[in-house]
């Protein structure tokens, strides 16, 4: 317990001083995205890594949050601070209702159903031009504003986004180590045994699906208010796959793993500048390699690799 708190405090401190180390105008912007993607990866990980239920449509919930926030604050000139919780409630309720039939499905069928759901949402973003602006997007979304500070620069946005991301992380870490988190992992390992012990597997799955959608929606709202412009292209099938890649690479069932995965996949395209769109080849290869050789993700695989290397060295020394 003490160790967990220490780790989280150290991580938070690292995040807070990171801008001093990497102070660079452009990189700050990328680090803002690392924050948003970390939130999204955690949301998907709660569902996939803890409850063992796959979703290939999470970009849809992310997009719904962004569009609801965007539309409420532009067309209906609502205060962003009000628009964000409204969006989260709407998306959460929607996910709950959809979750009831969807989570009866298992494995491949669940994957296909959520994928279909994500694509339908994407098509709606494109086609309801009057509401969303269609493929050309929605612009003029206001920045968040509090106590005389407008979050309109990369540095301010960094602290805003990471403040929320750290809160989401702490929330998820607490949840994972609690009665509910244990029940989720139990359902993942053996659904029937969990049920026999009194865990309402179905209800729990739907709850966590809704929670996951709410966190995604929150990330979407924040994305809309920091970017001030959104278009459907950010919320398509490919982004759902990118999120999946983050979770798998970082480590299923690890909150810090989600950060690692999100950071790696967000920074990768910056490192591979000039590779243009060919980064998808790397995503594909990464997904396959990770599942085959490091199914626990970086967060477990790298320490295991170290141990292996060092123990081999030690043995070599003896021989």
């Amino acid at each position: 317990m003490k160790r967990d708190l220490l780790l989280f405090t150290a991580f938070s401190l690292f995040i807070m001083v990171a801008p001093q180390i990497f102070a660079g105008g452009y990189l700050m912007n990328v680090l803002v995205f690392v924050g948003i993607n970390t939130m999204l990866a955690i949301a998907l990980n709660l569902l996939l890594g803890y409850a063992g239920q796959i979703s290939l449509g999470h970009a849809g919930f992310f997009g719904l949050g962004a569009y609801l926030s965007g539309i409420l604050t532009t067309t209906y000139s609502l205060n962003p601070w009000l628009a964000m919780p409204i969006a989260a409630c709407v998306v959460g309720s929607l996910a709950y209702l959809i979750g009831l039939p969807v989570l009866k499905l298992k494995g491949h069928y669940l994957a296909m159903a959520t994928l279909g759901l994500g694509i339908i949402i994407y098509i709606v973003f494109n086609e309801t031009v009057d509401l969303t602006g269609g493929p050309s997007g929605l612009s003029g979304i206001p920045n968040l504003h509090v106590a005389g500070i407008t979050f309109d620069s990369d540095v301010k946005n960094y602290y805003l986004i990471w403040g929320v991301t750290l809160a989401v992380m702490l929330f998820s870490l607490n949840l994972a180590g609690s009665r509910v988190g244990r029940a989720l992992r139990a359902v993942h390992d053996s659904e029937v045994a969990a049920q026999v012990l009194g865990v309402d597997a179905r209800g729990l799955k739907v709850q966590i699906f809704a929670l996951s959608a709410i966190i995604s929606s929150l990330a979407g709202s924040l994305y809309a208010h920091t970017m001030t412009f959104i278009s459907p292209a950010s919320f398509g099938f490919n982004f759902s796959i990118e999120l999946l890649t983050m979770v798998v690479i970082g480590g299923l069932g690890s909150i810090y793993g989600s950060f690692l995965g999100a950071a790696l996949l967000t920074l990768l395209p910056e490192i591979l500048r000039g590779a243009n769109d060919y980064d998808i080849i790397i995503y594909g290869a990464l997904l396959m390699v990770m599942v085959m050789f490091m199914p626990g993700g970086l967060v477990r695989g790298v320490p295991a690799l170290f141990r292996k290397v060092f123990s081999r060295k030690a043995e070599g020394g003896h021989a």
Binding site: S178, R182, S190, A193, Q195, L197, G198, V199, Q207, I208
Partner: protein, 251 residues
């Protein structure tokens, strides 16, 4: 305590159970025995809400529980173990038993994630309770091991500890001695008696006749989906029908 009336189960035209009825008295250890394919496990799956029978009713302490899902039965203090121990392999031994305390705790998703004071004290209570059951089954020293890495015999004890954490009034065990060596079986029979002494009614499906005859107060014999006999171990041992069924005599 538990009453089973006219249970019939038909799988695609094959009758697995045919109007099976019996009742189990409070505080007894009851054995359900029978040759392979007699329908013992199917019967267990029906009683514990995993299958839905074609016909018949199950009553627990006077309450009709026919068709209730397993998670509801746990709240009515009925729990079971599985033939191929179903552990939560990725979790520690202690965490496994803590899941068993699920119905004895109530913090919801938000309370847990926000670490509300009551959920923290509840967590402490869950941990202490789980430790108690690990001690009872004698595997307290393994608390921090990963459940998936336990040897089979210890896994069996963990599954029993986890089921006890539900604080059941009735516990169904599907072949608890399967896969255990003679030493472990001996320990198991002691443990089952201890469980009975806690006031928990025990029903077990078992192939190990020595164990069954040693610990059971009453025995129900199934053969080819029908109840063949019912009685004390001595009555069963002397029953000509049972002997015929076990020896495959066809007269």
């Amino acid at each position: 305590m538990l009453e089973v009336t006219g249970i019939t189960q038909i799988f695609g035209g094959v009758t697995a159970l045919d109007t099976v009825s019996f009742s189990i008295a409070k505080g007894d250890i009851t054995g359900v025995i029978g040759p392979n394919g007699a329908g013992k496990t199917t019967l267990f799956n029906i009683i514990t809400g995993i299958y839905h029978q074609t016909a018949g009713t199950v009553t627990l302490e006077g309450k009709n529980i026919t068709g209730l899902p397993p998670e509801k039965l746990a709240r009515l203090a009925m729990v079971r173990t599985f033939q191929n121990i179903e552990l939560f392999g990725g979790m520690t031994v202690l965490e496994n038993v803590m899941v068993g305390m699920h119905t004895k705790s109530s913090s919801g998703l938000l309370a847990c994630a926000l670490k509300m004071p009551w959920s923290i004290s509840e967590e402490r209570r869950i941990r202490a309770g789980a430790m108690k059951w690990l001690e009872f089954t004698g595997i307290l020293d393994l608390a921090d091991h990963t459940a998936g890495s336990l040897p089979f015999g210890k896994g069996r004890l963990l599954e029993i500890a986890r089921a006890l954490a539900v604080e059941p009034r009735i516990m169904l065990m599907d072949e608890p001695a399967a896969g255990l060596n003679s030493q472990e079986t001996l320990g198991l029979s002691r443990l089952i008696k201890q469980i009975r002494d806690l006031g928990i009614t025990v029903v077990l499906v078992e192939h190990d006749m020595e164990l069954v005859m040693d610990i059971c107060d009453r025995i129900v014999v199934l053969n080819l989906g029908k109840k063949l006999a019912e009685g004390t171990p001595r009555e069963i041992q002397e029953s000509p029908e049972v002997i015929a069924a076990y020896l495959g005599d066809d007269d």
